[in-house]
C-alpha cells in the first residue's frame, strides 16, 4: 500500500468528560471507498467529523494524505438564501475559482448528479428532499476533491431515491477518482458503494474489524449484495452488534 489517503492513529474523543470514541485506528488507501458501519450512537459521525477536521481529537493523530476534501452531511445543509446554483458555486469560489468560472463549474457539477438545469435558479425551499441532497452531492464534487466524507447522507431518503443517490456516488467515484469514508448503518448501502467495510465497536472502543468486499462497486448484482449482507448478519461474528439499538446513547 502506498502512503494512505487518510490515516487515523489511536484517535479518541470525549464530550463533557464522557469518552465517545477511543483508540480508533483506520487507514484508507488512495481512491479507496471505505464504509464505516456500527450501531446508532457508536460514534461513527463523530469520527468522520474529527477526520474532516471539524473537531479536534482529544488524543491521537489524524494524518491526511489527500489534497482536498469535501463532505456530504446527513441533512443537505444548503444555505436557504442562495439558489441551488449559488450553493454549489459557493464551494467552487472557496476553492479559488473566479465568480464566472465557479458558476460554470457548479452548472457542470449539478449536471453530473442529474439535477435539472431549469431548477438551478430555485431556492432550497422550492426543491424536494431528493433534489436538495443532489445539490449537496454536486457541492461536494464541484471542487474536484480527492477525498469525500459521507456522513449518513441518504438516511432520510426513501428506498428508491436512496438507490439513485448511491448510483450517483458510485458513478462519481469511478469517474472522479476520489477516496471516501462513507458512514452508514445500512449494510446493503455499504455493500453497494464500498470496496472495504469497517465495523465500529458498539460503544466506540475502536474498529472491531474490516472486511474486503469482492468485486467492484457498481458491478455487484442485487443477488450478490443480498447474499453478502445475509452472510454478514447471520454468519459473521463481526457484524453481531451492528443492528443493536440503544437510543439512550444517541446524542
Amino acid at each position: 500500500m502506498s502512503s494512505p489517503s487518510l490515516a487515523l492513529r489511536r484517535v479518541s474523543h470525549a464530550f463533557l468528560g464522557r469518552e465517545v470514541i477511543s483508540k480508533i485506528n483506520l487507514e484508507i488507501a488512495d481512491h479507496e471507498v471505505v464504509a464505516l458501519v456500527g450501531p446508532s450512537g457508536c460514534g461513527k459521525s463523530t469520527l468522520a467529523h474529527i477526520a474532516a477536521g471539524l473537531s479536534e481529537p482529544k488524543e491521537g493523530r489524524v494524518i491526511r494524505g489527500y489534497a482536498r476534501h469535501s463532505m456530504v452531511f446527513q441533512e443537505p445543509r444548503l444555505m436557504p438564501w442562495a439558489t441551488a446554483l449559488e450553493n454549489v458555486a459557493y464551494v467552487a469560489r472557496l476553492s479559488g475559482l473566479s465568480r464566472r468560472r465557479a458558476r460554470a463549474a457548479a452548472a457542470q457539477s449539478t449536471e453530473r448528479v442529474g439535477f435539472l438545469p431549469e431548477d438551478l435558479d430555485k431556492f432550497p425551499v422550492e426543491l424536494s428532499g431528493g433534489m436538495r441532497q443532489r445539490i449537496a452531492i454536486a457541492r461536494a464534487l464541484v471542487a474536484n476533491p480527492d477525498f469525500i466524507y459521507f456522513d449518513e447522507p441518504f438516511t432520510a431518503l426513501d428506498a428508491a431515491l436512496k438507490h439513485r443517490m448511491q448510483d450517483i456516488v458510485i458513478e462519481a467515484s469511478q469517474s472522479g477518482r476520489f477516496g471516501a469514508l462513507f458512514v452508514t448503518h445500512d449494510l446493503t448501502e455499504a455493500a453497494r458503494i464500498a470496496s472495504r467495510i469497517a465495523v465500529m465497536h458498539p460503544t466506540g472502543q475502536g474498529i472491531m474489524g474490516l472486511r474486503d468486499i469482492s468485486g467492484r462497486p457498481g458491478m455487484r448484482s442485487e443477488r450478490e449484495l443480498f447474499d453478502l449482507t445475509q452472510h454478514w448478519q447471520h454468519d459473521d461474528p463481526l457484524f453481531r452488534h451492528v443492528h443493536d439499538v440503544d437510543e439512550r446513547r444517541i446524542a
Binding site: H49, A52, G53, L54, R68, H69, S70, M71, F73, E75, R77, M79, P80, W81, A82, Y90, V91, L94, S95, D121, K122, F123, P124, V125, E126, R139, A143, Y149
Partner: protein
C-alpha cells in the same frame, strides 16, 4: 439582463401590493370620518380637513425645517444605535460569556422608561440636539443589540460546519453564513428601532423646548387646535413610512428574496 428584468418584476409586484395598503388606509379614513361625524369638528376633525392642513403646513419652508430637524435627530440616534448596538450584539452573539453579562444589563436598561432617561439627559446635556440623540440611543440600542445577538446565537451551526469543511476561513464564514442568518433577526429589530427613534424624538420635543415636530404638537395643545395636532402627527408618521420604504424595505427585499420563494402563493419562476 434577466437579473434586471427580475428585479423590475419584483418592484412591480411590490408596487402592485400597494393597493392593499391603500385599501387599509381608506378603511381607516372611513372609520375616522365616522368618528368625526359622531363627535364633531372640535374633538375629531374630518380626515380630509386634516390632510388639507398637513399639506398647508408642508407648503411653507419653515415647517419643512421643523420636520427635517426631527427626522435628523431621529435618524442620527437610530444610525448610532444600529451601528453600536449591532456591533455589540455581534460580539455577544459569538461570545456566550458576554451574552450572560449583557442580558441582565439589558433588562435593567429596557426597564427604565425613556421618559426617565429624558430627565437625566436634560440635566446632563441641557436642551440640545445631543440630549435628544442620547435619549433615542439609550432607548433603541437594546432593541438592535438583542436582535443581532439573538440572530448570531441562534444561527444554524450546521451551516457553519459546512462552510468550515469546505475550507472557508473564519472571516469568510462570518460574512457568508453568520451575517446572512443574523439579518433575518436584525431587520425586524431595525424596523422597530426606527419607529421608536421617531416616536422618542417627537416625545422629547413635546416635553422640552428643542423645536421640531414635538414642539409644534405642544403648541397645538396650548391652542386646543386638534386639526393642527393631527396634521403634525400625520406628517411624523409619513416621515417614518418614507424612511422605512425608501431605506429598509428595498434592502430587506433584496436580501430575503428566498423567503418570497418559500411562500405558497404568488408568482413562481
Amino acid at each position: 439582463m434577466t437579473g434586471l428584468l427580475d428585479r423590475l418584476g419584483r418592484s412591480a409586484r411590490f408596487l402592485w401590493g400597494g393597493w392593499s395598503g391603500l385599501a387599509a388606509l381608506a378603511l381607516f379614513a372611513a372609520l375616522w370620518q365616522a368618528g368625526h361625524e359622531a363627535y364633531g369638528d372640535f374633538i375629531l376633525p374630518a380626515p380630509l380637513a386634516t390632510l388639507r392642513t398637513a399639506l398647508n403646513i408642508l407648503g411653507s419652508p419653515e415647517n419643512w425645517a421643523i420636520f427635517i430637524a426631527t427626522m435628523r435627530r431621529a435618524l442620527i440616534g437610530f444610525a448610532l444605535s444600529a451601528l453600536i448596538g449591532g456591533f455589540a450584539g455581534l460580539i455577544a452573539g459569538y461570545s456566550p460569556a458576554t451574552m450572560r453579562l449583557a442580558r441582565p444589563l439589558l433588562t435593567v436598561i429596557l426597564g427604565v422608561p425613556p421618559i426617565a432617561w429624558l430627565v437625566l439627559a436634560l440635566i446632563w446635556f441641557g436642551a440640545t440636539d445631543g440630549m435628544v440623540i442620547v435619549t433615542i440611543f439609550v432607548g433603541v440600542v437594546p432593541l438592535v443589540f438583542a436582535g443581532t445577538a439573538e440572530g448570531i446565537a441562534t444561527r444554524d451551526r450546521g451551516l457553519d460546519a459546512m462552510a468550515e469543511v469546505f475550507g472557508a476561513t473564519r472571516l469568510r464564514r462570518f460574512w457568508s453564513v453568520g451575517f446572512r442568518q443574523m439579518l433575518a433577526h436584525l431587520f425586524p429589530a431595525l424596523l422597530l428601532g426606527l419607529a421608536s427613534s421617531i416616536k422618542v424624538a417627537v416625545m422629547i420635543e413635546v416635553l422640552s423646548s428643542v423645536g421640531g415636530i414635538g414642539n409644534e404638537l405642544a403648541k397645538a395643545r396650548q391652542y386646543m387646535d386638534v386639526t393642527q395636532a393631527l396634521a403634525w402627527i400625520g406628517i411624523a408618521v409619513a416621515g417614518l413610512i418614507a424612511v422605512e420604504y425608501a431605506l429598509v424595505h428595498p434592502v430587506r427585499a433584496e436580501v430575503e428574496r428566498w423567503r418570497e420563494a418559500a411562500r405558497p402563493w404568488g408568482i413562481k419562476r
